[in-house]
Symmetry: C2
Subunit: 216 residues, 2 copies
């Protein structure tokens, strides 16, 4: 309810995302994620703790309810922006992240509502991640990484934990986008690639890449 700067939003969003990805939320991981120095993050984290938006213990950084609520609002605006960009303005899914990173701090609640309405209240962003609803309710599907499937295992792509435009372009070129069914033909041993079948075509996919693709 206080004056909420773009930077504050940025930090809360990053923390929330790291947490969601089950990655450690330490000042250093945050610094890396935000591309800032450790002391800068340390200082800011202290400030945000003072504002009651998070707590910082030995175990790491943890958002309070208020912090989580703000983070989810920012994520809602981010993902709605991405949908606006793809569905209405014709951007590709690899072109929207950066743009949405700026829009998420510029959009009013009214605009947020209008975008959602105009798009028929979409449930996910173009990368398949759920859009929190107005009250911060976020429906997470039970998924697992494609890399965990065994040979002849099948799954439908739910979302893709990737922001790098080049990687996204690559995935789209193989048809690896949310909603698509993938079958694993073969899993090479010693951490080797997966041979997957997508809409009739066969591709070799690195483990690293496959681990970012979540299926159900």
């Amino acid at each position: 309810m206080e004056a909420d700067t773009p930077r504050t939003e940025e930090y809360l969003e990053s923390i929330y995302k790291l947490q969601q990805e089950h990655r450690p939320v330490t000042t250093s991981s945050l610094a890396e994620h935000l591309k800032l120095s450790a002391p800068s993050v340390s200082e800011m984290v202290k400030k945000l703790e003072g504002k009651g938006l998070l707590s910082h213990t030995e175990k790491g950084v943890c958002l309070t309810e208020e912090g989580k609520s703000i983070a989810k609002k920012v994520i809602r605006r981010h993902r709605l922006s991405e949908r606006l960009l793809t569905d209405i303005l014709g951007f590709k899914w690899d072109e929207v992240h950066e743009e949405a990173c700026r829009l998420e701090h510029a959009i009013s609640p009214e605009m947020e509502d209008r975008i959602a309405e105009s798009l028929g209240n979409p449930k996910t962003c173009p990368h398949g991640h759920p859009i929190p609803d107005k009250d911060g309710v976020l429906v997470k599907e039970k998924v697992r990484p494609l890399s965990e499937l065994k040979a002849s295992g099948k799954g439908v792509i739910v979302n893709v934990f990737e922001e790098d435009p080049n990687m996204l372009k690559y995935l789209a070129s193989l048809g690896l986008i949310p909603g698509v069914c993938v079958r694993v033909e073969e899993v090479a041993p010693f951490g080797g690639p997966l041979i997957v079948c997508v809409s009739g075509s066969r591709y070799a996919l690195g483990r690293e890449v496959a681990s970012k693709i979540k299926v159900k």
Copy 2:
């Protein structure tokens, strides 16, 4: 060419607009327009002068070609944002100014292009002001204030120099929007109101208000 902050954009835009409205562009008028203290503006103006974006003489503040070019880009983004808000997201013309003030600093050249394209390269914002093209070319129509018309004079509304939502709502309620034909029935003496006829209805309009409505 340099790193261009939102504040810089804000200043250049304000200067450009004051100039366009033939209002004095002094540090104090700028301070009033931007709702900042005089010394703040004085300081910032000096910085912008140092960056070659404007010159400051006894006659006032004057944008350089580079300053003008940036200002027009910001105005283009502002007006395209307004059109996006009204034409695609369903906002009323009185709801878009504030929102566009934030969006104009968050929009990339790519998004600017996409908006323009999606809207069929609109020539004006919802208030009738011209949208500069990609190269900064801005077509200004020859207009005069409605308040200058004599009794039985007629004109078509080109644009409205007004940002206040309440005033805009009021004007829209009378049908006083760009493209509409207005006839002045009567002009009360001693700076009194104009009696105007708009699409069959008759209204009394204060001079102050009428002066903000530009007709051709």
